[in-house]
Amino acid sequence: MVELLRVAWAIAAKDVLLEFRSRTAFVSALVFTALVLAIFNFARDPTAVSALDLAPGILWITFTFAAMLGLNRAFGLERENRALDGLLLSPASRTAIYLGKVLANLVFVGSVEAIALPLFALFFNVPVLPVLGPMVLVIALATLGFVAVGTLMSSMAVNTRLAELMLPVLLLPFLVPPVTSAVQITARLFAGRPFSEVGAWLRLLVGYDIIFVAACILFFESTIEE
Protein backbone atom coordinates (compact mmCIF):
# COMPACT_ATOMS: atom_id res chain seq x y z
CA MET A 1 0.00 0.00 0.00
CA VAL A 2 2.76 2.42 1.03
CA GLU A 3 4.81 1.23 -1.94
CA LEU A 4 1.83 1.82 -4.24
CA LEU A 5 1.37 5.38 -3.03
CA ARG A 6 5.12 6.04 -3.26
CA VAL A 7 5.20 4.95 -6.90
CA ALA A 8 2.00 6.90 -7.64
CA TRP A 9 3.57 9.94 -6.05
CA ALA A 10 6.73 9.54 -8.16
CA ILE A 11 4.66 9.40 -11.35
CA ALA A 12 2.61 12.42 -10.30
CA ALA A 13 5.77 14.33 -9.36
CA LYS A 14 7.23 13.58 -12.80
CA ASP A 15 4.14 15.00 -14.54
CA VAL A 16 3.93 18.04 -12.29
CA LEU A 17 7.64 18.75 -12.75
CA LEU A 18 7.29 18.46 -16.53
CA GLU A 19 4.42 20.93 -16.42
CA PHE A 20 6.20 23.23 -14.00
CA ARG A 21 9.25 23.44 -16.30
CA SER A 22 7.31 24.26 -19.47
CA ARG A 23 4.13 25.78 -18.02
CA THR A 24 2.58 25.89 -21.51
CA ALA A 25 -0.54 23.87 -20.71
CA PHE A 26 -1.05 25.53 -17.35
CA VAL A 27 -0.77 29.05 -18.72
CA SER A 28 -3.05 28.27 -21.66
CA ALA A 29 -5.61 26.72 -19.31
CA LEU A 30 -5.50 29.82 -17.12
CA VAL A 31 -5.86 32.21 -20.04
CA PHE A 32 -8.67 30.08 -21.38
CA THR A 33 -10.44 30.13 -18.01
CA ALA A 34 -10.12 33.89 -17.65
CA LEU A 35 -11.45 34.33 -21.20
CA VAL A 36 -14.43 32.04 -20.63
CA LEU A 37 -15.31 33.92 -17.44
CA ALA A 38 -15.02 37.25 -19.23
CA ILE A 39 -17.07 36.12 -22.22
CA PHE A 40 -19.83 34.77 -19.99
CA ASN A 41 -20.33 38.30 -18.79
CA PHE A 42 -21.81 39.09 -22.21
CA ALA A 43 -24.13 36.09 -22.15
CA ARG A 44 -26.58 37.80 -19.81
CA ASP A 45 -28.59 40.97 -19.79
CA PRO A 46 -27.38 42.69 -16.57
CA THR A 47 -30.66 44.58 -16.18
CA ALA A 48 -32.78 41.43 -16.35
CA VAL A 49 -30.77 38.61 -14.76
CA SER A 50 -28.72 39.12 -11.62
CA ALA A 51 -25.16 37.80 -11.67
CA LEU A 52 -25.89 35.68 -8.62
CA ASP A 53 -28.52 33.63 -10.50
CA LEU A 54 -26.12 32.65 -13.27
CA ALA A 55 -22.91 32.55 -11.26
CA PRO A 56 -23.01 28.89 -10.09
CA GLY A 57 -23.60 27.60 -13.61
CA ILE A 58 -20.89 29.82 -15.07
CA LEU A 59 -18.39 28.75 -12.41
CA TRP A 60 -18.93 25.05 -13.06
CA ILE A 61 -19.01 25.24 -16.83
CA THR A 62 -15.70 27.11 -16.65
CA PHE A 63 -14.19 24.52 -14.31
CA THR A 64 -15.40 21.68 -16.53
CA PHE A 65 -13.85 23.19 -19.66
CA ALA A 66 -10.60 23.90 -17.86
CA ALA A 67 -10.46 20.34 -16.54
CA MET A 68 -11.07 18.99 -20.04
CA LEU A 69 -7.99 20.86 -21.30
CA GLY A 70 -5.85 19.39 -18.53
CA LEU A 71 -7.20 15.87 -18.94
CA ASN A 72 -6.59 15.84 -22.67
CA ARG A 73 -2.89 16.25 -22.19
CA ALA A 74 -2.52 13.77 -19.31
CA PHE A 75 -1.96 10.84 -21.64
CA GLY A 76 -1.13 12.89 -24.71
CA LEU A 77 2.12 13.58 -22.89
CA GLU A 78 2.92 9.86 -22.66
CA ARG A 79 2.13 9.31 -26.29
CA GLU A 80 5.10 11.32 -27.51
CA ASN A 81 8.08 9.01 -28.11
CA ARG A 82 5.85 6.18 -26.85
CA ALA A 83 6.71 7.13 -23.28
CA LEU A 84 3.75 5.11 -22.02
CA ASP A 85 5.51 1.89 -23.08
CA GLY A 86 8.43 2.84 -20.85
CA LEU A 87 6.06 3.46 -17.98
CA LEU A 88 4.35 0.12 -18.54
CA LEU A 89 7.68 -1.72 -18.71
CA SER A 90 8.77 -0.27 -15.38
CA PRO A 91 7.86 -2.30 -12.27
CA ALA A 92 5.12 0.24 -11.39
CA SER A 93 1.73 -1.43 -11.01
CA ARG A 94 -1.16 -0.31 -13.25
CA THR A 95 -3.00 1.02 -10.23
CA ALA A 96 0.00 3.14 -9.27
CA ILE A 97 0.18 4.56 -12.79
CA TYR A 98 -3.51 5.42 -12.68
CA LEU A 99 -3.33 6.99 -9.22
CA GLY A 100 -0.24 8.94 -10.22
CA LYS A 101 -2.01 10.33 -13.26
CA VAL A 102 -5.10 11.20 -11.20
CA LEU A 103 -2.90 12.96 -8.65
CA ALA A 104 -1.09 14.99 -11.31
CA ASN A 105 -4.39 15.94 -12.93
CA LEU A 106 -5.81 16.96 -9.55
CA VAL A 107 -2.83 19.24 -8.99
CA PHE A 108 -3.27 20.73 -12.46
CA VAL A 109 -7.03 21.24 -12.30
CA GLY A 110 -6.90 22.29 -8.64
CA SER A 111 -4.33 25.02 -9.36
CA VAL A 112 -6.41 26.36 -12.23
CA GLU A 113 -9.47 26.37 -9.98
CA ALA A 114 -7.59 28.08 -7.15
CA ILE A 115 -6.74 30.98 -9.45
CA ALA A 116 -10.10 31.01 -11.25
CA LEU A 117 -12.20 31.21 -8.09
CA PRO A 118 -10.97 34.66 -6.93
CA LEU A 119 -11.20 35.87 -10.53
CA PHE A 120 -14.78 34.62 -10.67
CA ALA A 121 -15.62 36.36 -7.37
CA LEU A 122 -14.15 39.58 -8.76
CA PHE A 123 -15.86 39.45 -12.17
CA PHE A 124 -19.30 38.49 -10.94
CA ASN A 125 -19.23 40.23 -7.59
CA VAL A 126 -20.12 37.03 -5.74
CA PRO A 127 -19.49 36.81 -1.97
CA VAL A 128 -17.25 33.74 -2.03
CA LEU A 129 -15.27 34.52 1.15
CA PRO A 130 -18.04 33.90 3.72
CA VAL A 131 -18.69 30.41 2.31
CA LEU A 132 -15.09 29.61 1.40
CA GLY A 133 -14.85 26.50 3.61
CA PRO A 134 -17.90 24.64 2.24
CA MET A 135 -17.08 25.90 -1.25
CA VAL A 136 -13.59 24.34 -1.14
CA LEU A 137 -15.13 21.07 0.06
CA VAL A 138 -17.62 20.99 -2.83
CA ILE A 139 -14.96 21.90 -5.39
CA ALA A 140 -12.66 19.19 -4.02
CA LEU A 141 -15.37 16.51 -4.11
CA ALA A 142 -16.65 17.35 -7.59
CA THR A 143 -13.13 17.75 -9.00
CA LEU A 144 -12.07 14.38 -7.58
CA GLY A 145 -15.10 12.75 -9.23
CA PHE A 146 -14.60 14.11 -12.69
CA VAL A 147 -10.82 13.91 -12.69
CA ALA A 148 -11.03 10.22 -11.71
CA VAL A 149 -13.41 9.41 -14.58
CA GLY A 150 -11.68 11.87 -16.92
CA THR A 151 -8.25 10.30 -16.41
CA LEU A 152 -9.60 6.88 -17.36
CA MET A 153 -11.44 8.27 -20.40
CA SER A 154 -8.34 10.20 -21.43
CA SER A 155 -6.24 7.02 -21.39
CA MET A 156 -8.69 5.57 -23.93
CA ALA A 157 -9.30 8.73 -25.93
CA VAL A 158 -5.61 9.31 -26.79
CA ASN A 159 -5.51 6.00 -28.65
CA THR A 160 -8.51 6.76 -30.84
CA ARG A 161 -8.58 8.46 -34.17
CA LEU A 162 -10.24 11.63 -32.93
CA ALA A 163 -8.27 11.96 -29.64
CA GLU A 164 -9.08 15.54 -28.54
CA LEU A 165 -12.63 15.40 -29.85
CA MET A 166 -13.30 12.00 -28.34
CA LEU A 167 -12.71 12.99 -24.72
CA PRO A 168 -15.68 15.40 -24.39
CA VAL A 169 -17.98 12.92 -26.17
CA LEU A 170 -17.00 10.18 -23.71
CA LEU A 171 -16.71 12.31 -20.61
CA LEU A 172 -19.53 14.88 -20.67
CA PRO A 173 -22.38 12.43 -19.93
CA PHE A 174 -20.39 11.27 -16.91
CA LEU A 175 -20.15 14.82 -15.62
CA VAL A 176 -23.92 15.20 -15.25
CA PRO A 177 -24.19 13.91 -11.66
CA PRO A 178 -21.13 15.64 -10.14
CA VAL A 179 -21.61 18.93 -11.98
CA THR A 180 -25.36 19.08 -11.32
CA SER A 181 -24.77 18.46 -7.61
CA ALA A 182 -21.94 20.97 -7.48
CA VAL A 183 -24.03 23.66 -9.21
CA GLN A 184 -26.99 23.05 -6.91
CA ILE A 185 -24.86 23.16 -3.76
CA THR A 186 -22.96 26.24 -4.96
CA ALA A 187 -26.21 28.07 -5.72
CA ARG A 188 -27.50 27.39 -2.21
CA LEU A 189 -24.23 28.46 -0.62
CA PHE A 190 -24.16 31.76 -2.52
CA ALA A 191 -27.80 32.35 -1.60
CA GLY A 192 -26.85 32.05 2.06
CA ARG A 193 -28.88 28.92 2.69
CA PRO A 194 -27.76 26.65 5.56
CA PHE A 195 -25.41 23.83 4.64
CA SER A 196 -27.90 21.26 5.98
CA GLU A 197 -30.18 22.05 3.03
CA VAL A 198 -27.83 20.44 0.53
CA GLY A 199 -27.65 17.04 2.21
CA ALA A 200 -29.18 15.03 -0.63
CA TRP A 201 -26.91 16.59 -3.26
CA LEU A 202 -23.87 16.13 -1.07
CA ARG A 203 -24.68 12.44 -0.58
CA LEU A 204 -25.03 12.05 -4.33
CA LEU A 205 -21.65 13.71 -4.86
CA VAL A 206 -19.89 11.57 -2.26
CA GLY A 207 -21.59 8.40 -3.54
CA TYR A 208 -20.49 9.20 -7.09
CA ASP A 209 -16.89 9.74 -5.94
CA ILE A 210 -16.77 6.44 -4.07
CA ILE A 211 -18.33 4.33 -6.83
CA PHE A 212 -16.46 5.88 -9.73
CA VAL A 213 -13.03 6.16 -8.11
CA ALA A 214 -13.29 2.46 -7.19
CA ALA A 215 -14.60 1.45 -10.63
CA CYS A 216 -11.94 3.45 -12.45
CA ILE A 217 -9.13 1.91 -10.38
CA LEU A 218 -10.59 -1.50 -11.14
CA PHE A 219 -11.01 -0.97 -14.89
CA PHE A 220 -7.93 1.11 -15.68
CA GLU A 221 -5.92 -2.06 -16.19
CA SER A 222 -8.23 -3.10 -19.02
CA THR A 223 -7.64 0.12 -20.89
CA ILE A 224 -3.85 -0.18 -21.13
CA GLU A 225 -3.00 -3.88 -21.12
CA GLU A 226 -1.37 -5.07 -24.32
Binding site: M166, P177, T180, A200, L204, F212, F219, S222
Partner: protein
Protein backbone atom coordinates in the same frame (compact mmCIF):
# COMPACT_ATOMS: atom_id res chain seq x y z
CA UNK B 1 -20.25 -26.44 -40.50
CA UNK B 2 -17.79 -23.58 -41.05
CA UNK B 3 -18.21 -20.38 -39.01
CA UNK B 4 -19.30 -18.58 -42.19
CA UNK B 5 -22.03 -21.10 -42.89
CA UNK B 6 -23.31 -21.08 -39.32
CA UNK B 7 -23.41 -17.27 -39.27
CA UNK B 8 -25.25 -17.24 -42.60
CA UNK B 9 -27.78 -19.71 -41.25
CA UNK B 10 -28.33 -17.56 -38.13
CA UNK B 11 -28.78 -14.57 -40.40
CA UNK B 12 -31.54 -16.33 -42.36
CA UNK B 13 -33.29 -17.68 -39.28
CA UNK B 14 -33.28 -14.34 -37.49
CA UNK B 15 -34.64 -12.68 -40.63
CA UNK B 16 -37.66 -14.99 -40.39
CA UNK B 17 -38.19 -13.93 -36.78
CA UNK B 18 -37.94 -10.27 -37.74
CA UNK B 19 -40.74 -10.86 -40.27
CA UNK B 20 -42.81 -12.72 -37.67
CA UNK B 21 -42.43 -9.93 -35.12
CA UNK B 22 -43.28 -7.29 -37.74
CA UNK B 23 -46.51 -9.16 -38.51
CA UNK B 24 -47.27 -9.39 -34.79
CA UNK B 25 -46.51 -5.68 -34.48
CA UNK B 26 -49.07 -4.96 -37.19
CA UNK B 27 -51.50 -7.15 -35.26
CA UNK B 28 -50.86 -5.22 -32.05
CA UNK B 29 -51.54 -2.01 -33.94
CA UNK B 30 -54.81 -3.25 -35.34
CA UNK B 31 -55.79 -4.20 -31.82
CA UNK B 32 -54.65 -0.86 -30.39
CA UNK B 33 -56.45 1.24 -33.01
CA UNK B 34 -59.60 -0.77 -33.63
CA UNK B 35 -60.32 -2.98 -30.65
CA UNK B 36 -59.00 -0.87 -27.75
CA UNK B 37 -61.17 2.01 -26.54
CA UNK B 38 -59.79 5.52 -26.96
CA UNK B 39 -58.60 7.16 -23.78
CA UNK B 40 -61.20 9.53 -22.33
CA UNK B 41 -59.13 12.71 -22.04
CA UNK B 42 -56.34 12.21 -24.56
CA UNK B 43 -58.37 10.57 -27.31
CA UNK B 44 -56.46 9.10 -30.23
CA UNK B 45 -53.21 10.79 -29.17
CA UNK B 46 -52.83 8.20 -26.44
CA UNK B 47 -52.40 5.43 -29.05
CA UNK B 48 -48.72 6.36 -29.40
CA UNK B 49 -48.37 4.98 -25.87
CA UNK B 50 -48.33 1.47 -27.37
CA UNK B 51 -45.10 2.29 -29.25
CA UNK B 52 -43.57 4.70 -26.79
CA UNK B 53 -43.64 2.70 -23.57
CA UNK B 54 -42.49 -0.66 -25.07
CA UNK B 55 -39.67 1.12 -26.93
CA UNK B 56 -38.51 2.67 -23.66
CA UNK B 57 -38.51 -0.74 -21.99
CA UNK B 58 -36.51 -2.23 -24.86
CA UNK B 59 -34.06 0.71 -24.80
CA UNK B 60 -33.25 0.11 -21.13
CA UNK B 61 -33.16 -3.67 -21.67
CA UNK B 62 -30.64 -3.21 -24.48
CA UNK B 63 -28.50 -1.00 -22.28
CA UNK B 64 -28.64 -3.55 -19.47
CA UNK B 65 -27.48 -6.23 -21.92
CA UNK B 66 -24.55 -4.02 -22.96
CA UNK B 67 -23.54 -3.67 -19.29
CA UNK B 68 -23.80 -7.40 -18.53
CA UNK B 69 -22.04 -8.59 -21.70
CA UNK B 70 -19.30 -6.01 -21.11
CA UNK B 71 -18.61 -7.56 -17.69
CA UNK B 72 -18.65 -11.01 -19.31
CA UNK B 73 -16.15 -9.81 -21.88
CA UNK B 74 -13.71 -8.42 -19.32
CA UNK B 75 -13.93 -11.65 -17.30
CA UNK B 76 -13.68 -14.18 -20.14
CA UNK B 77 -12.10 -12.13 -22.95
CA UNK B 78 -14.45 -13.93 -25.34
CA UNK B 79 -14.82 -11.85 -28.53
CA UNK B 80 -18.39 -13.12 -28.92
CA UNK B 81 -19.41 -11.20 -25.76
CA UNK B 82 -17.98 -8.05 -27.32
CA UNK B 83 -19.83 -8.56 -30.60
CA UNK B 84 -23.03 -9.23 -28.66
CA UNK B 85 -22.62 -6.04 -26.60
CA UNK B 86 -21.97 -4.01 -29.74
CA UNK B 87 -25.03 -5.49 -31.48
CA UNK B 88 -27.20 -4.75 -28.45
CA UNK B 89 -25.95 -1.16 -28.29
CA UNK B 90 -26.65 -0.61 -31.97
CA UNK B 91 -30.17 -2.04 -31.88
CA UNK B 92 -30.80 -0.31 -28.53
CA UNK B 93 -29.75 3.00 -30.07
CA UNK B 94 -32.55 2.65 -32.64
CA UNK B 95 -35.16 2.03 -29.94
CA UNK B 96 -33.85 4.85 -27.73
CA UNK B 97 -34.10 7.19 -30.71
CA UNK B 98 -37.64 5.95 -31.23
CA UNK B 99 -38.52 6.83 -27.62
CA UNK B 100 -37.06 10.30 -28.09
CA UNK B 101 -39.03 10.80 -31.31
CA UNK B 102 -42.40 9.43 -30.21
CA UNK B 103 -42.12 11.20 -26.81
CA UNK B 104 -42.14 14.77 -28.15
CA UNK B 105 -44.91 13.92 -30.65
CA UNK B 106 -47.06 12.76 -27.76
CA UNK B 107 -45.85 15.58 -25.53
CA UNK B 108 -46.75 18.29 -28.04
CA UNK B 109 -50.36 17.10 -28.15
CA UNK B 110 -50.87 16.41 -24.46
CA UNK B 111 -48.39 18.54 -22.52
CA UNK B 112 -48.45 21.35 -25.10
CA UNK B 113 -44.69 21.34 -25.55
CA UNK B 114 -42.26 19.36 -27.66
CA UNK B 115 -39.65 19.19 -24.97
CA UNK B 116 -39.58 19.50 -21.21
CA UNK B 117 -36.80 18.68 -18.78
CA UNK B 118 -38.91 16.07 -17.11
CA UNK B 119 -36.88 13.56 -15.11
CA UNK B 120 -37.65 10.49 -17.19
CA UNK B 121 -37.16 12.36 -20.45
CA UNK B 122 -33.81 13.74 -19.35
CA UNK B 123 -32.67 10.30 -18.23
CA UNK B 124 -33.56 8.81 -21.63
CA UNK B 125 -31.71 11.62 -23.39
CA UNK B 126 -28.54 10.90 -21.44
CA UNK B 127 -28.94 7.18 -22.00
CA UNK B 128 -28.97 8.06 -25.69
CA UNK B 129 -25.79 10.16 -25.31
CA UNK B 130 -23.97 7.35 -23.50
CA UNK B 131 -24.99 4.83 -26.17
CA UNK B 132 -23.86 7.27 -28.83
CA UNK B 133 -20.50 7.68 -27.07
CA UNK B 134 -20.20 3.89 -26.96
CA UNK B 135 -20.79 3.57 -30.70
CA UNK B 136 -18.55 6.52 -31.57
CA UNK B 137 -15.75 5.03 -29.46
CA UNK B 138 -16.10 1.70 -31.26
CA UNK B 139 -15.86 3.35 -34.63
CA UNK B 140 -12.73 5.25 -33.61
CA UNK B 141 -10.61 2.26 -32.53
CA UNK B 142 -9.32 -0.14 -35.17
CA UNK B 143 -7.52 -2.93 -33.35
CA UNK B 144 -10.29 -5.43 -32.38
CA UNK B 145 -8.86 -6.42 -28.98
CA UNK B 146 -8.38 -2.83 -27.93
CA UNK B 147 -11.79 -1.85 -29.26
CA UNK B 148 -13.39 -4.64 -27.24
CA UNK B 149 -11.62 -3.67 -24.01
CA UNK B 150 -12.34 0.04 -24.39
CA UNK B 151 -15.98 -0.44 -25.19
CA UNK B 152 -16.42 -2.96 -22.38
CA UNK B 153 -15.05 -0.43 -19.89
CA UNK B 154 -17.33 2.28 -21.26
CA UNK B 155 -20.30 -0.10 -21.27
CA UNK B 156 -19.84 -0.96 -17.59
CA UNK B 157 -19.19 2.62 -16.50
CA UNK B 158 -22.26 3.70 -18.49
CA UNK B 159 -24.40 1.12 -16.70
CA UNK B 160 -23.07 2.46 -13.38
CA UNK B 161 -23.81 6.02 -14.48
CA UNK B 162 -27.49 5.55 -15.31
CA UNK B 163 -28.66 5.23 -11.65
CA UNK B 164 -26.67 8.34 -10.74
CA UNK B 165 -28.23 10.37 -13.53
CA UNK B 166 -31.60 9.01 -12.46
CA UNK B 167 -31.06 10.35 -8.91
CA UNK B 168 -29.74 13.71 -10.17
CA UNK B 169 -32.67 14.37 -12.49
CA UNK B 170 -35.20 13.39 -9.83
CA UNK B 171 -33.55 15.58 -7.20
CA UNK B 172 -33.43 18.36 -9.74
CA UNK B 173 -37.11 18.04 -10.45
CA UNK B 174 -38.35 17.73 -6.88
CA UNK B 175 -36.47 20.89 -5.98
CA UNK B 176 -37.90 22.73 -8.97
CA UNK B 177 -41.41 21.34 -9.26
CA UNK B 178 -42.89 21.56 -12.72
CA UNK B 179 -46.53 22.46 -13.19
CA UNK B 180 -48.43 19.27 -12.52
CA UNK B 181 -50.54 19.58 -15.68
CA UNK B 182 -47.47 18.78 -17.74
CA UNK B 183 -47.40 15.21 -16.57
CA UNK B 184 -50.39 12.95 -16.96
CA UNK B 185 -50.88 10.75 -13.93
CA UNK B 186 -50.35 7.03 -14.07
CA UNK B 187 -53.92 5.87 -14.36
CA UNK B 188 -54.60 2.29 -13.46
CA UNK B 189 -55.19 1.05 -16.94
CA UNK B 190 -58.56 -0.47 -17.72
CA UNK B 191 -58.43 -4.14 -18.70
CA UNK B 192 -58.59 -3.92 -22.49
CA UNK B 193 -55.86 -1.28 -22.63
CA UNK B 194 -53.69 -3.32 -20.30
CA UNK B 195 -54.01 -6.39 -22.54
CA UNK B 196 -53.02 -4.32 -25.58
CA UNK B 197 -50.09 -2.87 -23.67
CA UNK B 198 -48.87 -6.27 -22.53
CA UNK B 199 -49.15 -7.55 -26.12
CA UNK B 200 -47.17 -4.52 -27.28
CA UNK B 201 -44.47 -5.13 -24.66
CA UNK B 202 -44.13 -8.78 -25.61
CA UNK B 203 -44.07 -8.03 -29.34
CA UNK B 204 -41.48 -5.30 -28.94
CA UNK B 205 -39.31 -7.58 -26.84
CA UNK B 206 -39.56 -10.29 -29.49
CA UNK B 207 -38.82 -7.72 -32.20
CA UNK B 208 -35.77 -6.52 -30.29
CA UNK B 209 -34.60 -10.09 -29.74
CA UNK B 210 -34.92 -10.87 -33.45
CA UNK B 211 -33.08 -7.70 -34.49
CA UNK B 212 -30.36 -8.35 -31.92
CA UNK B 213 -29.94 -11.92 -33.13
CA UNK B 214 -29.79 -10.71 -36.73
CA UNK B 215 -27.27 -7.98 -35.97
CA UNK B 216 -25.16 -10.42 -33.97
CA UNK B 217 -25.21 -12.96 -36.81
CA UNK B 218 -24.12 -10.20 -39.17
CA UNK B 219 -21.25 -9.27 -36.86
CA UNK B 220 -20.18 -12.91 -36.68
CA UNK B 221 -20.35 -13.22 -40.44
CA UNK B 222 -18.20 -10.10 -40.93
CA UNK B 223 -15.74 -11.47 -38.42
CA UNK B 224 -15.63 -14.94 -39.98
CA UNK B 225 -15.13 -13.49 -43.45
CA UNK B 226 -12.30 -11.27 -42.22
CA UNK B 227 -10.65 -14.32 -40.65
CA UNK B 228 -11.05 -16.36 -43.83
CA UNK B 229 -9.54 -13.53 -45.87
CA UNK B 230 -6.61 -13.26 -43.49
CA UNK B 231 -5.99 -16.99 -43.67
CA UNK B 232 -6.11 -16.93 -47.46
CA UNK B 233 -3.63 -14.05 -47.49
CA UNK B 234 -1.31 -16.05 -45.22
CA UNK B 235 -1.47 -19.16 -47.41
Amino acid sequence: MTPIESAERALRRSAVWILVSLLLLAGVYVRALVFTPAEMVQGLAQKIFYIHAPSAWVAFLAFGIVGVTSIVYLLLKDPRADLFAASSAEVGMVFTTEVLITGPIWGKTIWGTWWTWDARLTLTLFLWFVMLAYLVLRSAVHEPGQRARYSAVLGILGALLVPFIHVSVYLFRTLHPLPVVLKPGRPTLPGSMLVTLVCAFLTFTLFFGALLWHRYALARLTDARAHADAERADA
